[in-house]
Amino acid sequence: MHTSTLRNRWHELAPWLDLSDGSLYAIAAYLHEQSTSEALAALARSRSYPRHIRSQLHTRGLADFFADRPAGAEAPSRMTLAHLGSLGHLLSTSDTSLSITVMINALAFLPIYIAAEPELLTWVFAQIQAGKFGAMLLTEIASGSNILGGQTWAESGALDEHGAFVGSAEQQTEASEDRTLSHFRMVGQKDLINGGSEHELLVVFVRTRQREVREEEPSPLSVRGDFSFLLVERDTTVSSPYRWHTLPAPGANIASVAFDGTIVPRGRCVGRVGSGFALAQKALAISRGMIGSLAAGLSHRAVSLTTAYAQERALYGAPILALGAISDHLMRMQALDLLITAAALRANAMLNVRGSDASHYGVVAKYACCVLLEQLVDQGRYLWGSRALLLDHPYHQIIGDALLLSAFDGTTHLVLDQIQWRLAQIASMKTREQPAWPPLVGAIYRTPPRHLLESVRATAGALLIHPGAYLRQLGAQPGALSLTPLLAVIDELLVLTRHCRALGIWDGDQGLRFEFGKLFAFLETLIALVELADPQRREQLGMGDLDRDGDIGVLATFTYAWFGSQQVAALETLCARLGHTPAEAVAEARGTFGQQMTAARDEIRRDHRLLTQGYP
């Protein structure tokens, strides 16, 4: 049974989305229809692409989320990260195959949004408004997540008087760009491409310069300039030799795409020749935040299904929700849902204003939302028992889908590498030189959804908020959730980071750095919870009231204390491993979180309505 509506945690916590958006309601209503649910289930069983559903979404205004209408059109633009986040969340509450089929358009078109010339942008918008979908072609099986190892090659040249391609001896670079070289010819293959054999507009990351093998050490700065993005329409030279049928999200089209001498006009190069790697990094910086919205939608679906089951399934004469262990699982699921939603919304807000300069918050959202989603799904699996193992049970599909999300837009190791890098940067900052963070963060949350082209083209330098300085400043005013224990953990983590770097054990131990990165990502997630779920902090940061029918205050308190106590434990484990004695404040934080968790848990167990509201 389809359980999603637009009244859910995402919209309760969102700082600025106007729920009166007609297209979101129209799409939600369509997804809510019994016939749509049945059609999606049938597509999953037959592992078929949702072509008919895609066209139905198009008639309900889907294209407006990815493309402006021609000048003079009356419909308001929905091309904002806020709308895309809400769309991704909504689709994910319904079906993962559908959500990734649609939302891959966001990643695919990002290089175009960032860097395409007006003529190409106008053409692409017209194609999207005509119902075409995009695919992003980055990966090659041999090179995996190392996109710089890709071998798909685009030779520069021109067409002769017979229309035949003639290659050039000169390689194209930005400096030597020769406008008489009017075309590229592509050869190669990309793999594991979402929409690979179905989507019409292929945005291909391709090598446009081959380097000679040099004997001397290459410059670490030399990665720039070797790759470009080309926008390719399918023709007879483009084929899909293979579709993966054994992945989760069975209705999604994940396929290889091969190019056999595909001719591409120069005008279809996105941005400057050689700008591909920089564009890829900017696009992924934004899309990783969007993964958070998909995770939040799937999280909501899992919790809704499980909450309904816990109320309906009777054992020993009462719903199983009355059983202590069951309510504990559900409590943790709802806590994790709250954390996932908060982290995804925080990233969305940061990216809305600062674009790829807020990449840290997108990466944190991708890591934390995907990992916490897996934990959430596990909690549900304990509750469902053997039912979750049934292949045609809706919860079984959720288990597989949850694992798939973490594979998109960067491996776990890749994102942890970025997070630990940012932690090291923050730990090296001088706290006395920090700006006033609360007004800046408040301004970010209060900024209305910006047009996507404005967001993704923003350049103001990397946004990196010092969490210790920020929480100290924020804590000058009271809140429902005390910042003292969280600040103690953050302070100690920064001390420990500096300690490891000073001892010279940081650089040589990737596993250790990743443990630090994990903890840091989860602490950032707690900050998101404080900002978005604490009514007093929302007021302090200038956001609107929580849009809620019920009271998530007790759940928020439980979430903060339960998850906070886990981070204290993780920190203490790291300290013990490194022979470091943490400050007394850390032990006090352990005590504070423990007491708060127990009190909140007891209150929820006394009133199970606190577990059933918010998940219709």
Binding site: E217, S219, R224, G274, Q425, A462
Partner: protein, 77 residues
């Protein structure tokens, strides 16, 4: 502040080091500059100095001194 000091400051920031740890004759890879960090460094330097670093010239930059020299050349061009 000299161009050299400004370059070292930005390099230190990207690599999470103090400027005092950056020496002219050090190879950039010694500071852990990988493809992602190097992209951020290039963007930082281009925006700070309002220049567009030449792709062909960048290929030959291996040390901190190489980088400073390149920035000085592009600034004076």
């Amino acid at each position: 502040m000299s161009i050299a000091s400004q370059v070292k400051q930005r390099l230190a920031q990207v690599c999470a080091l103090s400027p005092a740890q950056i020496t002219d004759d050090a190879r950039l890879i010694e500071y852990g500059l990988d493809s992602l960090r190097s992209m951020e460094l290039i963007v930082e330097l281009e925006e700070h100095f309002a220049i567009a670093l030449d792709d062909e010239a960048i290929v030959h930059v291996r040390t901190v001194a190489d980088l400073i020299r390149l920035i000085e050349q592009q600034r004076s061009a």
